[in-house]
């Protein structure tokens, strides 16, 4: 049966939207962010208890004194659980999402009630919004809206909109038809019929819809946390992944308190706001008689109460702000960040929490404004690929996070690993005494219930177990690998350990479970788990360009196991919410570590140039542009001031011999430039070859199957139209081809050598290549065309092209004394054909004027090159 490529289509739609509607998404992001920040500022600013008092007055106004007291107690409990700030963040998020939802839902509901079309159109859309699992659009949401509050709010809006629309629709339809007719009979316009009759009468139903909207919005808090939205969801999400029951209950309780408050208040809002509700309330009160418990202050009284408390709160805040102005910041000498904010994403794994808080502190000390975001793994990668997260510290490669890396690789850059090796394993409690290796598991399936408890189905370890490890030990028949989540695996482990029942779980080291329980890591005699992951630092590909300093620091970041576990323990012991203090006191016990992790320029070993100016000459030839811009970048990073100058061959040698140019990188020796070398070599020094061999050749695309050598060409003249596409007529290669190569292979009769220019030749090649037509061109190596196209260099068995050159770095003879460090680096400088080809190609793609940028991107994509070429002292 035909496979409907729905998945492909949606990916196309997503990328189309990303490319074409991004400004709209950006506008939405700005608006939602602005709203959230505003609301959060208002809710987060006052003293918790004062705000609790204000909210209690609102409860008093809406529902009477008992509700007021209960509201205050509930909110005070949140404060005492130290969850006030996240609770207010959650409240802000719910308020913003609900306001936007209602603003959209009420008009849509009205439309649906009044138009048959609207109703028919909206119904399936609403069904889709309500039932499509939020995760499905949460991750793409990151592409459009980045991480944090906005995609969370959007997902919340999508999820909570349907009841808003439906209840509005229902409310309006429920209004007695005779009333609407009466309004019309008195000449009311449709608009006024809606405003004066339908909406007021539908208001109780619409408010019930609002109540539903708010409740659904609250139910999204945990899912919101997975894309980095702050609030109670984060602590619940953390609790889930750490199987921290206590923390989960506290966070959950706070959510429940907020939910009850919002639910009761919005329900009561109907009685206060809608005329019908007011009517019903008055009736009920007159029936029961007024009592103290049912007393509700008039709106004006309540308003004054709120105002008074708000003024007190404002006053206290002013006083507090004055006090807090003295917060110490990075001192000017170490302030390299200048308040630049950088988004650091992290997942809920202990080593990531520890290392991320560590770097948060380090970066703060360096004057950056690091912004820590807790996220789900998938969300983290998506967010980093989009650039809303700058970097993260916990990628287990090459196995565990392989699928994420494969998917987002092109937008990311690997800043190297800071810890390793880790290991993946199957572990059993050590009271299961007869199982020591994976092979021991065989035949004991019944003991373990035929089950190995796994983690998230997408995890690399699961794939490895399924495809390699279990079959390798013959366990795949007897055991079933159950996929669930890390949290439930750990919960399972905990339960089994308590009841001393055998269990086998998929685990990895380092992991705190090893210190909490006595576990046996099953050895892997066949080595099927592989060499073990290392923990890598990944960043968005633009990160090294945007934050060269931080990239530099991260690249040299390493941590020993003892340090890491020490830090993890410190963070773990301090408890959630106190990570930062834990890191600070840990750092205090490790003086000098900050300077080691993030050396400041000036005292930095990286800055060995101290602003010394060095002049680098180059020819406008592809390989020299590439190499020279590469060194321009490298030397600048090392503190040199590079003066890049373009020359033609003759004047270059002159300038270099008299010291106007310090060095150049494109000496084709011993042949092509031999005459210049002969003339000037006494004032110059050869620092050695960085590329060899070069060659001149005739090349055909590799889809021309039967032509591999120049001697093959003669028989295929008609295929190539009897033409060999050449370059500029005056060049050495052209005369070589004309005078010796073509005659040597008897090609001078059947082939015309077409003279033109290098760009024209390349354009011809591009066109022919696109159409898969045969073409033969005069080319040379190194050339970026070899990395852009798949080409066959035709062999030259008769040696008609002559001997090969190599490319040397040449310098003025005083250069090694004046710039010993650069001279040392250049002597060891070497690029492979692939490296040079890809660099040339990148520069070619970036276009003229963007060479420096292209080099930076290339360096970022080739981590380690920098350190190899310009190692520190």
């Amino acid at each position: 049966m035909y496979r409907v490529p729905l998945g492909n289509w949606s990916e196309h739609v997503v990328s189309f939207l990303q490319n074409n509607v991004q400004p709209l998404f950006d506008a939405v992001t700005t608006v939602v962010n602005g709203m959230y920040n505003g609301v959060d500022w208002v809710l987060g600013k006052p003293e918790p208890l004062l705000l609790a008092a204000i909210l209690a007055v609102v409860a008093f106004w809406l529902r009477g004194p008992l509700s007021g007291v209960l509201a205050f107690l509930g909110l005070a409990l949140i404060d005492s659980l130290q969850l006030w700030t996240p609770a207010m963040q959650t409240l802000s998020q719910v308020i913003v999402a609900s306001v936007i939802t209602i603003l959209l839902a009420v008009p849509l509901g009205i439309w649906s009630a009044r138009s048959r079309w609207g109703n028919a159109l909206l119904r399936p859309v609403l069904d889709l919004m309500q039932t499509m699992p939020a995760f499905v659009y949460l991750i793409p949401g990151i592409f459009f809206f980045g991480t944090g509050i906005v995609p969370a709010a959007i997902a919340t809006i999508v999820f909570s909109m349907p009841p808003g629309v439906r209840m509005t629709d229902l409310g309006i339809r429920q209004v007695d038809g005779e009333l609407v007719e009466a309004a019309e009979a008195f000449g009311t316009t449709p608009r006024n019929t809606l405003l004066r009759v339908q909406l007021p009468l539908a208001l109780p139903t619409i408010l019930a819809g609002l109540n539903q909207v708010i409740m659904l919005a609250l139910s999204m808090v945990v899912i919101s946390a997975m894309v980095g939205a702050p609030g109670l969801g984060q602590s619940i999400y953390t609790a889930i992944s750490q199987v921290n029951v206590g923390m989960g209950v506290e966070g959950g309780t706070a959510v429940v308190i907020l939910a009850m408050y919002l639910d009761r208040m919005t329900a009561a809002l109907g009685e206060r706001v809608s005329p019908l509700g007011r009517r019903a309330l008055a009736k009920a009160n007159s029936a029961r008689g007024l009592s103290v418990l049912r007393y509700r202050p008039a709106s004006a009284v309540a308003g004054i109460g709120v105002l008074v408390i708000a003024l007190v709160a404002g006053g206290l805040n002013l006083a507090q702000d004055k006090g807090s102005d003295a917060t110490p910041a990075a001192s000017s000498s170490t302030d390299v960040g200048h308040g630049q904010s950088v988004n650091l994403g992290y997942i809920n794994w202990d080593e990531d929490v520890a290392s991320s808080y560590l770097w948060q502190d380090v970066l703060q000390q360096r004057g950056f404004k690091p912004n820590l975001q807790l996220m789900d793994v998938g969300a983290l990668y998506a967010s980093m690929a989009k650039g809303s997260t700058d970097f993260e510290l916990d990628s287990w490669l090459p196995t565990t996070h392989a699928s994420y890396w494969a998917q987002y690789q092109k937008d990311l850059v690997d800043l190297g690993s800071w810890y390793g090796p880790t290991s993946l394993e199957i572990a059993v409690p050590s009271y299961v005494t007869d199982v020591r290796t994976l092979a021991d598991l065989k035949g004991k399936a019944s003991e373990f219930g035929g089950k190995i408890t796994g983690i998230e189905p997408g995890a690399g370890e699961m794939k490895l177990l399924q495809t390699k490890v279990l079959p390798g030990y013959g366990l795949d028949k007897d055991y079933q690998l159950t996929a669930s989540s890390t949290a439930s695996m750990l919960a399972d482990l905990d339960r089994s350990v308590r009841s001393k029942t055998p269990i086998a779980v998929a685990l990895w080291s380092p992991h705190w479970a090893y210190s909490k329980y006595h576990l046996t890591k099953l050895t892997d005699p066949q080595g099927l788990f592989g060499a073990g992951d290392r923990i890598h630092t990944l960043a968005n590909k633009s990160f090294p360009g945007k934050f060269p300093q931080i990239s530099q620091w991260l690249k040299s970041f390493r941590m020993a196991q003892s340090d890491l576990t020490d830090l993890e323990n410190a963070v773990h012991a301090a408890g959630t919410g106190h990570e930062q203090q834990a890191v600070q006191s840990w750092l205090a016990k490790h003086p000098g570590l900050v300077d080691q992790l993030a050396p400041v320029p000036g005292g930095s070993p990286q800055d060995s140039g101290h602003g010394k100016t060095v002049t680098l000459g180059y020819f406008p030839w592809d390989e020299d542009i590439a190499a020279s811009y590469l060194w321009d970048d490298l030397l600048t990073r090392r503190g040199y001031k590079v003066n890049l100058q373009q020359f033609d061959v003759g004047s270059m040698f002159t300038a270099m011999s008299n010291g106007q140019v310090d060095f150049e990188l494109d000496g084709w020796l011993p042949h092509a430039q031999s005459q210049y070398w002969a003339k000037y070599h006494k004032d110059l020094v050869n620092l050695g070859a960085w590329y060899s061999p070069t060659s001149l050749e005739i090349t055909v695309p590799s889809y021309v199957k039967d032509v591999h050598s120049l001697s093959d060409l003669a028989a295929h003249a008609s295929e190539f139209g009897g033409r060999i596409i050449g370059i500029e007529p005056g060049t050495g290669e052209m005369s070589l081809v004309k005078s010796s190569v073509l005659p040597a292979y008897g090609l001078d009769k059947n082939f015309t050598l077409v003279a033109g220019s290098s760009p024209a030749m390349l354009a011809d090649l591009e066109r022919a290549y696109a159409k898969k037509q045969p073409i033969a061109v005069v080319l040379w190596s190194p050339h970026w065309a070899y990395s852009k196209y798949s080409l066959t260099k035709l062999a030259d068995p008769k040696g008609a092209f002559g001997a090969h050159d190599q490319i040397d770095s040449l310098a003025n003879k005083d250069f090694p004394q004046k710039f010993p460090q650069i001279a040392g680096w250049l002597k060891n400088f070497h690029l492979t054909e692939a490296q040079l080809g890809s660099l040339e190609n990148d520069i070619q793609q970036a276009g003229q004027g963007n060479e420096a940028k292209a080099v930076q991107t290339w360096l970022a994509a080739n981590p380690g090159v920098e350190d190899t070429l310009t190692p520190g002292t």
């Binding site: 005779e178 009333l179 007719e181 009979a185 008195f186 009311t188 019908l276 009517r279």
Partner: protein, 297 residues
Amino acid sequence: MTTLEADQLFKVFGRKPDDAVDRLRGGVDREVLRAEGTTAAVVDASFHVEPGEIFVVMGLSGSGKSTLLRMLNGLTRPTSGRVLFGGQNLTTLPDKELRAVRSRRISMVFQHFALFPHRSVLENAGYGLQVQQVPREERDRRAAEALRLVSLEGWEQSWPDELSGGMQQRVGLARALATDADLLLMDESFSALDPLIRREMQDQLLEIQHNLRKSIVFITHDLNEAMRLGDRIAVMRDGRIVQQGTPAEIVLAPADDYVAAFVEDVDRDRVLGRASQSAATTAGGTAMESADAEGSR
């Protein structure tokens, strides 16, 4: 004062209504159309209502009388035919002007009162004036006056749900009277009330009509009510008006067996008493009419 004239009104619901009207004119029975899924609610209805006259349309439920009434103020657009009111053809009037006519010159009283539950009695009575954008003070004054007319002074600040059915319908009547419209459309306005209250309301309506002399089109399925209120009566059956005339004419000379069966149980003496009064009205003297009206009670 203005005359209301209905001229060959048709209302057909369903597919191809214009076709259906042509076929009905050509004598096709409406049962034939019903089998095709097209409902002819009103077929070829023509009548006129003079100023100061109560014109009762009587018929069983489903006879099309409510549809006919709604065509008179344009709530339902006729499929064919014209409604002329005060020299204007309401059928061709654009929505905006039609709303203006409804707001100032035609008002309506409903079967189930249709009071706005979120408005006080006074606000309900003043609703039509609010639509006309009469300033609040004048609106309240005129609404209170209309409430006094229906003997509801003192109840202005109450809510509709605090009133009995009869009182609620008096608010409905006050709402209709407050706009000072020339034409009152009353759709089974007293049917939902207890017989005693209904009687009271009928008396009150007659008294008000005696003073204000509006044109009233009154829909009912109750023959006694029709006889009691109507200066002239139209009997409807299956969408057609089968007979028009004074109550006496209807009782004494029923047009067909259907009408005859209908009027069988009517208290003839009463009707004939009213009939003589009606005849007097048509003959002309106001003073004499009012004396007779007193006498007939």
